[in-house]
């Protein structure tokens, strides 16, 4: 068991938590938390699985993840704007299907 294996396991657990949170979350902000956690899990996976933890540094996955972090923030910012707008228009920050599912 070395560092790479450890972080792959952590990534898998984080991804599972993210998927679970995405499904059970009612509030859209919680869904955003979940999506961001899933994204972070994949970022960890990319770097951990690239073999750069075992000595030979590999700049490619790190550069990819750096781009990914910025894209994730951009998408989150837009999603937050959509959520606030939805709340303004309907008074709810949940999706229609979710309310039906609760019945």
């Amino acid at each position: 068991m070395n560092t790479a294996w450890l972080f792959v396991i952590v990534a898998a657990l984080l991804f599972g938590i993210g998927v679970y949170g995405l499904i059970i979350a009612g509030h859209l902000l919680r869904k955003l938390f979940a999506i961001n956690i899933m994204g972070n899990a994949i970022f960890i996976l990319m770097v951990a699985a690239s073999g750069s933890l075992d000595g030979s540094p590999d700049a490619l996955p790190q550069a990819l993840v750096l781009t990914g972090i910025v894209i994730a923030v951009s998408a989150t910012a837009f999603a937050l704007a959509l959520m606030v707008r939805l709340y303004q228009l309907t008074g709810k920050a949940t999706l229609q299907d979710d309310e039906d599912a609760d019945d």
Partner: protein, 309 residues
């Protein structure tokens, strides 16, 4: 011993993620998410990726947390009586699906880790190539030399996200101005913090060619300056975007595109950067654009104007 530290950080990440998802209060969720981001930064540092640690701390935790807090405040302002109903969907399938997803990630990751690596992998080829370019930081080198189109479009995505967010609120009435910072210490504190923050941002930018750092980290740190100025009322959100805001907003895209096209005119491949000075030029322009975009996203406004202080 090292593995024990990594295991602690990993355990912390998992617990924080679970708390963020399952906690009752939305506000607590945001705070925990920011702590999760900072712990991610620690994990990146442990994984030997200081560039990612800086980016995660500044962008992943800082900017995302600030944006989430602003969105939360607007939700509370719209309906103060019930900001967050702790509703959860019940689903029998949630746990099996999550377990399957986690298993899939684990299989992919463990398969990739245990795979035999050929000595001529792309990363090593890039490292040997980068030695000639004068860029000591391989991440910056890869971003600007080999994935330059991706980096250009990344700035475009950030700009597109801002424009889309503004379009959503096109017919919104003017957002309420934040409370004026009348406390006697605010001015003195800003006078110290703002120059230091700018210094850190410029250092991150200049260091980015040799050491961990770069335009995105520097832009996020610079954006913190703008956020402080907005919170203290020195800068006010404005409904109209003047040239003074619009031009810096697209400066990164503009400079990067122009330099890239100039390379094409001079017979080099598109977006080939002729020298180190163009790297600094592009990174500086990108830093300004990124910082301004993030500040405007935080302000939820199309423009900025001076506060009347």
């Amino acid at each position: 011993m090292n593995l024990a530290i990594d295991a602690l950080i990993g355990l912390g990440l998992v617990i924080l993620a679970w708390q963020t998802i399952s906690g009752r209060s939305l506000f607590r969720g945001i705070v925990l998410f920011v702590v999760f981001g900072l712990t991610m930064a620690l994990a990146w540092a442990r994984m030997g990726a200081p560039d990612l640690a800086l980016a995660e701390a500044a962008i992943g935790a800082g900017v995302t947390g600030a944006l989430m807090l602003v969105a939360y405040r607007r939700l509370v302002q719209l309906h103060p009586e019930e900001p967050a109903q702790p509703n959860r969907r019940r689903s029998r399938l949630a746990l099996p699906i999550a377990a399957l997803a986690a298993g899939l990630v684990a299989v992919i990751g463990l398969g990739a880790v245990s795979a035999e690596r050929e000595p001529g992998m792309a990363g090593l080829a890039v490292m040997s190539e980068l030695a000639d370019t004068g860029l000591g930081n391989p991440i910056t080198g890869v971003l600007l030399k080999f994935r330059n189109l991706d980096t250009l479009l990344e700035v475009a995505v950030l700009l597109a996200a801002f424009l889309a967010a503004r379009t959503v609120f096109a017919d919104e009435e003017k957002s309420p101005t934040p409370p004026r910072g009348d406390l006697p210490l605010v001015g003195a504190l800003l006078a110290i913090i703002i120059p230091l923050t700018i210094l850190v941002a410029v250092h991150l930018l200049l260091a980015g060619s040799r050491e961990p750092g770069g335009a995105f980290q520097a832009g996020a740190v610079l954006a913190a300056c703008g956020v402080l100025l907005i919170l203290s009322g020195r800068l006010q959100p404005a409904t109209r975007m003047g040239l003074a805001v619009g031009l810096p907003l697209v400066l990164g895209l503009l400079v990067f595109s122009l330099v890239g096209l100039a390379a094409l005119v001079m017979g080099a491949p598109l977006l080939a950067l002729p020298g180190l000075w163009t790297v600094y030029l592009i990174e500086t322009a990108m830093m300004i654009s990124i910082a301004l975009t993030l500040v405007l996203l935080f302000a939820g406004a199309s423009g900025l104007r001076r506060g009347d202080s």
